[in-house]
Symmetry: C3
Subunit: 399 residues, 3 copies
């Protein structure tokens, strides 16, 4: 039965045009075609189904997966490590603290020096506007040249594990969770999804989540609503993309400054704090100038600004205004939970509690999404490779 389902998924994959993903990196979801996005979900589903059948999907006998994080991270780090492990790569962390990057070494050189035996590199660099994605492109270009020059025997596939613009592995995992929950992508047309700001006692949370969500969810014919208090604008370029994609997909993209309006009749809600784009740009400048007094001042201003919007909380009352009072509540985790992780936060404790199982399920997609991105970049004929796995059925765990 599971075998049947996997065969169906392989057939589904064969119907999608994904050959241009071969040999390519994954930077931003909106650079990928609809078919490529769907192929990524499908490969993720196949990898998961194979693992559930105790079939190993190691395509590498040896090789390294490099994780480069410019910010602390538990979940993303483990997701990347899990994805690498699933495909047979050993993870090596490239911590700035541990390494010489901090000593003025050029990006190009480091990228090459660590990659002689690397098949994949995952980068998280979401702190500074205008920097993270640009840095990834630089690394990718360096690796491409290193490969072409014959210094690298293989070109490592780069996966964007979160940048200043997009958080593709998060948005893709979220979307696959939505597809699962609603029983197929074909059921999403006309569904209302509210990506809304929410109050948090901390500040400066990255914009990549809301941007990633509207940049992806606008491709499936849904009514995408972005809600936030005045002053919490996100990157206008991403809004533009969402608007365009929504139109093309037969859905809509709208904005509001009312959380209530966003929640009203929503099928899906995603209340989550973020920092104003303009403030993040300022912060990036202040850091660039080493102006730490300015940064402290900005922090205080932002916290004061946040405190004006404590009513932006995902309460039971708000939840009851959603479609049948039963909208799917989503979050990238960890959430600021009122009376649990903080006094006043993004979401009421009882709401969070009710959705814990689906929230964990949502998160469980990420390792497979990352693995799928690498798989599609590495394997020229993924359908054939999956058939091979099914036929040989190498055991992951030899019970």
């Amino acid at each position: 039965m599971a075998q049947e389902r996997i065969k169906e998924l392989i057939n589904k994959l064969a119907d999608l045009k994904h050959e241009n993903m071969y040999g390519e990196d994954f930077f931003l979801t909106w650079e990928k075609t609809y078919d490529e996005i769907m192929a990524t979900f499908t490969v993720a589903d196949i990898l998961r189904a194979l693992r559930e059948e105790n079939i190993s999907t190691k395509i590498f006998d040896s090789g390294l997966g490099i994780s480069l994080f410019r910010d602390n991270s538990t979940r993303t780090r483990f997701s990347f490590a899990s994805a690498c492990n699933l495909l047979g790569l050993a993870v090596q962390d490239l911590d700035e603290g541990k390494s010489q990057i901090a000593h003025g070494e050029t990006v190009r050189e480091t990228a090459n020096m660590v990659s002689f035996m690397a098949d994949a590199i995952g980068i998280r660099d979401d702190m500074y506007i205008g920097k993270g994605n640009a840095y990834m492109r630089e690394v990718s270009q360096a690796l491409k040249e290193g490969y072409e020059d014959g210094n690298l025997e293989q070109r490592p596939t780069l996966v964007n594990l979160q940048c200043d613009i997009d958080h593709p592995t998060q948005a893709m995992a979220d979307m696959n969770h939505i597809i699962d929950t609603f029983g197929g992508v074909e059921n999403l047309k006309g569904k209302k999804i509210a990506m809304t700001w929410a109050y948090s006692p901390s500040y400066g949370k990255p914009l990549s989540v809301p941007q990633g969500i509207i940049g992806l969810m606008s491709r499936f014919g849904m009514e995408v609503v972005l809600a936030h208090p005045e002053g919490y604008e996100i990157m206008p370029e991403v809004e533009e993309i969402a608007r365009k994609q929504a139109t093309e997909s037969g859905g809509s993209f709208t904005k509001t400054n009312s959380m209530a309006e966003a929640f009203k009749d929503a099928d899906i809600v995603y209340p989550k704090s973020w920092a104003p784009f303009a403030a993040m740009e300022t912060r990036t400048e202040l850091y660039g100038n080493g102006d730490f007094d300015g940064i402290n001042k900005l922090e205080k201003e932002l916290l004061a600004q946040n405190a004006n919007h404590k009513d932006w909380e995902c309460t039971e009352e708000l939840m009851s205004t959603t479609k049948d009072g039963k909208a799917l509540y989503m979050h990238c985790l960890p959430a600021d939970i009122t009376d649990v992780s903080c006094a006043e936060g993004e979401v009421a404790g009882s709401v969070f509690d009710r959705y814990r199982v689906p929230l964990y399920k949502e998160a469980s997609h990420k390792p497979y999404i990352i693995a799928a991105m690498m798989f599609l970049s590495k394997i020229q004929d993924p359908e054939a490779k999956f058939e091979e796995f099914l036929a040989a059925a190498p055991k992951r765990f030899d019970k």
Copy 2:
């Protein structure tokens, strides 16, 4: 010949009732039956013998082993890593420093978020009385629920790598060393083992070693003596367990405030510093209240208290009072060695030196004990699996 010995061990294992270990965690030795304890030693011995025969015992083709340490550790970290590697798991460290745990994330969430592809998790949390073991139970419960809810495809086996109550992997490794040294568990009846406090210039060493030792060694018909200066009491609950077990096994559990009395005619001595239970309880409270002045004050008091007992040193003179002057000297390492690692310490340099080889041998059991705990939790029919290994004899090192 080695093959014969392995077959004998497999037969021995078959005679032990160990089926309830399947799918279970390892928290405290006294929660396991005598047969389960013996099965763990036997599996450890088989794993070691197979490795010595260059037979690979990888049961996992991929999968993660997560190490979560709330305290620095070389030995335990490497023991866990070795055990994981022996069974085929890749280790991922979950450092609080590196991760977001420190940012108020709930235990339940983190446990699930890191475990999507984890088959084992080893936790060391021995710093605060009433916290470590409780934390492990919380993690275990979260993983059980995560598995039952379908968020985790497998339930990671939890191994207690040291908590506030017990240090099962240490005590088990120590016990296996004793069994080896005395030529079999059947030779231990009536043997005298002295678990005694010893002076150290540092303070606050965990109670889990003496507690683990009396909590385990009291099950084999030995005369277990716990010795310490007044004021260095350990957890009374564990003493109670030792007393009960000693009676049941036909041995004894006694206490004394004299090191000389403990050493007199002892077959085994385990002199090792620890902090008074009451002081550790106070420290836990002070930390809870963030009372760092109080902590500093307590430190000074404890060091002053220790200094009153510099005569609690394992000297040649004391050793000469043991059975034939040849008691087995044990330590979990690293020891405070007089004139080597400190001016005045737990043990005289010449005593330590004479026992270096056995001490390293003692330590060498730990990776296999940890692997055995995981193996018995993972493999439903370990005897059959070992027969398979013997028959196929996959090479660990393809010379």
Copy 3:
């Protein structure tokens, strides 16, 4: 064709006397015979060629490779990790920060405690004169004893990843790059190589690179020139070795205080900053005495001394004086590049730029050199093992 080339390399290896490398460590290049050095290059070339043919060279199914770094390092850490991965070992880092080494634990004990399942250990300890290599010998001796005493089931091979005296993996990678560039070791007789000091705005760079270079390059009949300003002497013992070897190999070893003289008609130039040997000895003493004021004072003096020699830069003008203006420019990386990584540095930006591809190629040899050192120590009949690999051709990446 690749197969033919690999077979030729295997034949070449068979002609070299390398059996004494079996079971041995790699401390200093000049302790190895000429044949052993050539065997290491040849094995490195074979391992690389096999990987390029997508043939896995995993000789270990499980086992640990331990990296012990007493200094930050990106490149060497990744090179070691790559080498371990290539042969099938999982890397475990032994950070002093993370571990208890800092707490007065003896070298011997730690070496044993971490090595129960370790097949290789790579150590970088280059900070203090008289310490690094001595420390490695101590570790090696401890592991030998641990193995002989039966505490370790295997003796881990120690690889010197940089010490106070030599940097064998760097010098060997560099030499293999030279051999490649000049089309064979037989073409090196009479070639002039200039190992010259160069200005850097930082100070205290290790001496192991220039020492390693003259200690190895003097064995191939080349004219080795060591150039530095007065006061930047290196270890006299290593100069003596270079002098002796140069004579024996039909080349020469000379010294000069003129960068221009060294560059004149050179076939190869290696301009690189280092600290005066005498100053490094003083620093070691100051650290030993915990004299941090003295260290600060020394730093200032050294920086001032450096600043007197800003004209020691590898400029286009100097490059034009080399053989046909086309000497091979070498560096261990990262270089201090004028106007790129600093205002005034070791090399002009345009020179560095022109040699970037060869520089990366130079660096790419290191993982294979490290793997070759381990391979020759582990495998008794490497030629037979390589024939096996060729015949079975296990895939590294199952595309």
